[in-house]
């Protein structure tokens, strides 16, 4: 009919045109090329798994009208391999092993579809050229490896980056330690022995991979009994005895599943309070160091964590007799003599638990962290220190600002020279913030808040005899208590015991 509206022909042409004349864009070319290079193009219509085996009766015999008819062929059903819609396999005798061989060459799973993927499927001459291929095709996907200057550039680039990745001044002990740790990671060894490596420091990044250490399953032979199924969670132990460590990197305290840590015979003068992050720690050996006190957080690990075996002697600890004691918490009620430290052991906690013996005098610090009253550098403006300003729970503006500083991402990279460009007033504060950051942050031992400048510190004396012998036996009734000094910091004046 004339009145009938004809179909818009232009539209069909437009619709079909990209199929007729595929535009020579890089993406389409590369797509075609990827198809051509595919390893699966020989039977591309077939799935990669074995074709399913189907069976059916003959079509006329299986009809409803022949339901009671005798089955011809005595139960024989028609069998065929192929897809359910009837497509037959070209080579029905194909073995499963053929597919297995194919699978060994390549997993066949690629998440990309551009040319770089197709090229990287091809075996290259050597490893570095493989990387270059990939880089080239990523950088310039339309012209794969065409221009010489590009390849020269990338070669230079890669050699530079290779140098940058490998730190040039890594010393021998560090390299050996890295090898040992890599070996343990590969084999799934859960006990890392870095004894007598002459390590002066723990380089950053050395211990961090141990976070992901997993034990290898121990099943070897076929008869499997119940008890071979064990947890693959490692009983992670790090032994660093007989080194010359003077500081501990904060990486060590990120290993939250560390169970055994030995730092015997090192040059540690202080244990950072960040040790409280090692909540799974069970055995800690700090003997033969230069420690004069322990961080209070070790005590927290005993009280709230799993720490059962603490070896801290010998160390040049502060002696209890000469210490300034503000308050004694534990003394024998029967004997008035405080110096006689033999406990009247009765209850379970008194036999097994830690005993708080005494608290030392509290040193208050001003807003810059200098001890109040002692140092002449403080009290520049404050003529009546401590008395005029009431006890204030809110952090000082310095502290608030320093907490913001310590969260800055680039703080660790700043050097002393860069710091020297800042006004001299704040340089020590910034240095302190950087130290706190390097130690992995500090938190107040009373209120758990993070702080940069401590406002008070004091010593607490505790007796840990049951923990020193590994919880093997309790305190004996007539045994002398052996007090250990624990240094404790507080973030504000109101966190000090007795003030609240």
């Amino acid at each position: 009919m004339d009145s009938e509206i004809p179909l818009p022909p232009s539209r069909r042409v437009r619709h079909r045109s990209p199929v007729k004349n595929p535009p020579a864009t890089g993406a389409a070319v590369s797509f075609q090329r990827a198809q051509r290079l595919s390893r699966f193009d020989d039977h591309s219509s077939q799935p990669s798994s074995d074709p399913a085996l189907f069976s059916s009766d003959d079509i006329p015999a299986s009809g409803l009208e022949n339901y009671h008819a005798p089955v011809s062929g005595a139960g024989r059903k028609r069998r065929y391999r192929g897809t359910w819609w009837g497509e037959q396999v070209l080579d029905p005798k194909r073995k499963r092993a053929d597919f297995k061989d194919k699978r060994n060459v390549d997993s066949g799973v690629w998440m990309g579809s551009d040319e770089s993927v197709a090229e990287s499927l091809l075996p290259s001459e050597d490893g570095s050229a493989w990387g270059e291929d990939l880089r080239k095709s990523v950088l310039d996907p339309r012209k794969p490896g065409s221009s010489i200057p590009v390849s020269i550039e990338t070669e230079n680039m890669s050699s530079q980056t290779r140098i940058a990745f490998k730190s040039p001044e890594e010393s021998d002990p560090h390299r050996f330690a890295r090898e040992v740790i890599g070996d343990c990671l590969d084999k799934g060894h859960e006990s890392i022995d870095l004894g007598e490596f002459n390590l002066g420091t723990i380089p950053p990044g050395l211990l961090l991979p141990l976070q992901h250490l997993t034990k290898l399953p121990s099943v070897k032979k076929a008869p499997v009994s119940e008890n071979v199924f064990t947890s693959l969670q490692p009983f992670l132990s790090i032994y660093l005895p007989n080194n010359s460590l003077s500081t501990l990197h904060k990486d060590l305290f990120e290993l939250s599943n560390l169970k055994v840590l030995s730092l015997r015979n090192n040059k540690l003068a202080e244990i950072p309070s960040t040790i409280c992050k090692l909540t799974a720690l069970e055995v800690l050996n700090l003997s033969v160091n230069q420690l004069t006190y322990l961080p209070w957080e070790v005590l927290k690990l005993i009280q709230q964590g799993e720490l059962k075996h603490l070896t801290v002697r010998p160390n040049p600890f502060l002696t209890y007799d000469k210490a300034k004691i503000a308050e004694r918490h534990y003394n024998n009620k029967e004997k008035e003599n405080h110096e006689d430290l033999s406990p009247a052991v009765q209850s379970h906690t008194e036999r097994w638990g830690p005993l708080h013996l005494a608290t030392g005098t509290i040193t208050y610090m001003d807003m810059e962290g200098n001890p109040m009253g002692d140092s002449p550098s403080s009290n520049r403006l404050t003529l009546t220190p401590g008395l005029a300003s009431p006890v204030n729970d809110a952090p000082s503006l310095r502290e608030v600002a320093l907490r913001a500083v310590s969260k800055l991402p680039y703080l660790e990279q700043t050097t002393d020279e860069e710091l020297a460009e800042y006004p001299a007033l704040i340089v020590p504060l910034l240095q302190q913030a950087r130290e706190v950051r390097a130690a992995g942050g500090k938190s107040c031992s009373v209120c758990q808040r993070e702080y940069v400048i401590p406002r008070a510190e004091w010593m607490e004396w505790w007796d840990l005899i049951p923990f020193e012998n590994g919880m093997k036996m309790p305190r004996c009734p007539n045994e002398m208590l052996r007090p250990l000094p624990f240094r404790r910091f507080a973030c504000s004046l109101s966190c000090v015991p007795g003030s609240c």
Binding site: M367, A394, L397, L402, A404, V405, L408, P423
Partner: protein, 101 residues
């Protein structure tokens, strides 16, 4: 003119002439401001206006915010952290040194 030490509010002026009117008790958080504002010998004490020549309006605003924050959380146990933009913290450190707080 009545001695301004009895007025409830004081005015803090920044170098670019922004004025911040805050409670006197909040300003007294700063030891320096307390001395300036409570004395009758200084002009600040007589007028109740304190000009911080060295600090711009952005910094003085943050300082005043801190004064109120400190005043509010004076006796509380779990004080939340005050939010400080990283670009201001170095100048605030300098200001904290000047204000002695």
């Amino acid at each position: 003119m009545a001695p301004s030490t009895e007025t409830e509010f004081v005015t803090i002026v920044s170098s670019d002439k922004f004025e911040f009117i805050i409670p006197r008790s909040a300003a007294y958080v700063s030891e320096t401001l307390r001395r300036m504002l409570s004395s009758n010998n200084f002009p600040e004490g007589r007028t109740g206006v304190c000009v911080l020549e060295d600090y711009s309006g952005v910094i003085v605003e943050k300082i005043c915010e801190y004064f109120c924050y400190n005043e509010k959380h004076k006796d509380q146990v779990n004080v939340p952290d005050m939010d400080i933009p990283p670009e201001l913290c170095l100048e605030l450190l300098m200001a904290a040194d000047f204000l002695n707080t």
